[in-house]
Amino acid sequence: MARISNRIRRLRFDNNEMTQEELANRAGCTRQTIIALEQGKYVPSIELAFKIARSFGVTLEEVFQYETGS
């Protein structure tokens, strides 16, 4: 079964421990959505995914990974 995972928590830590609130403001979403993303409980739209990646100054695939199970 396919799954989309992310490295948001790791990237926040690597970016001077950016807060969830700060990332939410930069990406234009609520803090609760960042929490849901980090917990793997929500898959964002392409637009939000790009905004999050740009907030960290990295490419989309450095944040989100598409994993296909065997």
Partner: protein, 145 residues
Amino acid sequence: MAPLQKRALYSLAIGLIMAGVLAAVLVIKGDVTAFFEDENMRYILYAVLIGVPLVYLVLVNITLRKPTQIDERDKAIIEKSGKAQWVAIVLSLAVWNIALTEVYWEQRQVPVDFLTLIFVSVLIISPLAQSFGILTGYWRIGKNG
């Protein structure tokens, strides 16, 4: 708790209180016809009928315009809550239909007061069901992802 989730919770509580107050007033007045014979009560009800949808519309628009209050995840939940709203309205109309048909079968006519009462019930049930749909939407996201 997300801002929209909080609002849905408040809305559910206020809606339940409103429904309770309306039911209490009808019980105190004795029956539906007696309630509508009171001119003041009728005018208050007309004001509520026009005022509630307008206030609801303005509040929803204000909420939807704030990007920090609501985002794509919340909007997806709002869209899905429409299903709960639709089911609740259809069910309530079905209950009205069956109840009035059974009660007034012999007379072959239903008092006109019920038209307003049906509208008021839909007016209360609609935001209640939407709030319920929003709250279950957040619960489902939290549970299943």
